[in-house]
């Protein structure tokens, strides 16, 4: 059976230095392509927000980048400013006539260089500035529009672009081959059986008419396979009919971060088509913040159609299973103090806020909120493609200090994070700031707390 996944690995990204050299001597056609793409990408919402910003700078103290480094370029206001300059040039004859007076500026090589440094390198697209802005300016959407213009001109930082290319070319962002995926699942099925002590336990593949298709972060089969076992154990105990797909299993969508609507749509299309092919009643998204925002909220916009099935976070599904008494938990199995990290794209930008709290209330002995939390949470610093863009890793770790301080203040030994990207960043800042923490996903915690049956 054809899997649809090409077995060729993704092309190697260009060397970082080649990228820097290219930025330093951009060809006029490349600049023209970025300029034209920028004009084409601007929607009603972008135009409204760009004309509504009052350039007050009051969002500065809400951004983790600006809180750790007072360089004006870290302020959300500055990020809006860089996009607004190009917008004025594009949208207003008056502004073009008096650019010095109005602050209009064409998309040129210099501005592109600033966009790369500031909009790729100093923003995790977390939306905390939007939540606290005087007006409610959608800064991540503006950043994405400018990133999209650079994507159209082939100017996305190569490490991020290669992640997108891997997903587009191989079906998942880590270029896991079909054989490796199937082999991993078969091996993990044995692990699952040992874990739950039941030889009938399964990690089903390509089963039609299931209650839901479960998709996950490729980091799981690659680096955290026990995360898959954890989800499998929960679903097995609850007796749900679920399935994984043989072909497209990747919940992530880095097109959201590169800004390319075409790449984002290509990636999103596969999960929609796979859910339809398998006639699953729901598409259940594994623990991935941006994967949730992309597939739950933005995919229908990119694809221009309603999916025709429900799209949910696994966090929501597991909370339901607990509430309905379909799994039994023993919180005494997790005696250490736990705190909860709120992934920006799941919580502030996604609306999934209560279920993870319900889960912790039932799964662990004691847990404590960070301050602030929920809608007002601070980004861990790993979003917006920052984890991929190794060239900006130092800034990412420095910006993560705000989250590190929050965690330390709770005194918790375990950080629950319903997002694998956040898990990676939190683990890194745990080491960087010597927090002495263990970072776990919600499914891992719930699996740890499952009542063992004799």
């Amino acid at each position: 059976m054809s899997t649809g996944i090409p077995l060729t690995p993704a092309p190697a990204p260009p060397a970082p230095d080649a990228y820097r050299r290219r930025l330093a001597s951009l060809e006029p056609e490349t600049v023209a392509r970025a300029r034209a793409a920028f004009a084409a990408l601007l929607t009603r919402d972008h135009a409204v927000h760009l004309d509504a910003c009052v350039h007050c700078g009051l969002c500065t103290t809400s951004c983790h980048y600006a809180l750790v480094d007072e360089d004006p370029r870290n302020s959300p206001a500055y990020k809006v400013h860089l996009v607004a300059e190009a917008f004025r040039q594009e949208s207003s004859a008056w502004a073009r006539m008096f650019p010095g007076w109005t602050g209009a500026r064409p998309v040129d090589a210099e501005l592109i260089g600033e966009w790369v440094d500031v909009l790729f390198g100093r923003c995790s697209m977390c939306g905390r500035c939007t939540a606290n802005c005087v007006v409610g300016i959608d800064v991540p959407a503006l950043v994405r529009a400018a990133r999209g213009a650079l994507a159209a001109a082939g100017l996305v930082p190569p490490e991020l672009q290669s992640t997108v290319d891997a997903a587009v070319n191989t079906g998942n962002n880590m270029s896991i081959t079909h054989d490796d995926w199937i082999g991993t699942i078969e091996w993990l099925e044995d692990e699952l059986r040992a874990e739950v002590g039941d030889d009938t336990a399964r990690l089903p593949l390509d089963e039609c008419d299931a209650d839901f298709l479960y998709v996950l972060n490729p980091r799981e089969p690659k680096f955290y396979p026990l995360s898959i076992v954890a989800a499998g154990a929960i679903f097995h105990r609850a007796g749900v009919r679920w399935t994984l797909a043989r072909d497209y299993f990747d919940v992530t969508n880095y097109g959201l971060f590169s800004g390319s609507p075409e790449a984002a749509a290509t990636i999103a299309r596969r999960l929609v088509d796979t859910t339809r092919r398998l006639r699953a009643k729901q598409l259940v998204l594994g623990e991935c913040g941006h994967g949730f925002a992309a597939n739950r909220w933005l995919a229908p916009e990119w694809l221009g159609e309603e999916p025709g099935f429900e799209v949910r976070s696994v966090v929501d599904v597991v909370a339901d299973l607990i509430r309905d008494g379909r799994i039994e938990l023993d919180p005494s199995r997790i005696p250490n103090l736990v705190t909860l990290h709120d992934p920006c794209n799941l919580v502030r930008n996604g609306g999934v806020i209560a279920p993870q709290r319900e889960i912790l209330a039932r799964a662990v002995t004691q847990w404590v909120e960070m301050a602030p939390h929920g809608y007002q949470n601070y980004c861990c610093g790993g979003g917006g493609g920052q984890l991929s863009m190794t060239r900006f890793a130092r800034r990412r770790l420095e910006a993560g200090r705000i989250k590190a301080d929050q965690i330390r203040a709770t005194g918790a030994r375990i950080v629950a994070a319903p997002c694998h990207n956040c898990v990676d960043q939190l683990s890194e800042i745990g080491k960087e700031y010597a927090l002495g923490i263990e970072v776990k996903t919600m499914c891992e915690l719930v699996a740890d707390a499952l009542v063992r049956r004799p």
Partner: protein, 208 residues
Amino acid sequence: MTTLEAVTLAAVAWSVGALAWAARSAWRRPSPRAAAAPAGTALSGIVYAFGAGMSPRAKESASHHPLVYVAGLVYHAGVLSGGAALVAHLAGAALPASIALGLGAAMTLGATAGLVLLARRRSNPLLQAISAPDDYASNAIVDAWLASGALAMFTWSVTPFLVLTIVLALYAPLGKIRHCVFFFLARGLFGTRLGRRGVVAHLHGSRS
């Protein structure tokens, strides 16, 4: 109606028309259809955005910067007072002295707050970096208009007020003052998103 009043009216008409045109142009840009099944209502978000979401407790731009927030409120209260005074004058309504004094005081305070905000823009490195001459001019024009309005209320000399109304009305659609319209549209879009995504139901107690 004097010639100056007629020109003022024409300038205000231009301003309203040009601002409406700018809003219409922005609104007519392509907008992807929000096809995802909503988790809440847009209305709940819009009510939040223009209601509880406007309180200083709801956003750090206010709670972290109380003086600037108060200055902004006083400034915009002054602008509303100036608008009321202008409408009353052009309608030929004679304002009772107490109301005229109240409006004059609000405009005086508004102009003062505007100058404070202007000084902040001049002295803050971030604001310097993101400001064009238009930012300073927009503020200065409004400050001068408020001062002339206050003068009109206190001395009944309306000529400077009308002249500056013409300047303000002609300039408003061309620069940053456009936010007087776009603020409401942007706030509505912000609320719509919060509402549809079901975030609004969870906005209480996230700071504790």
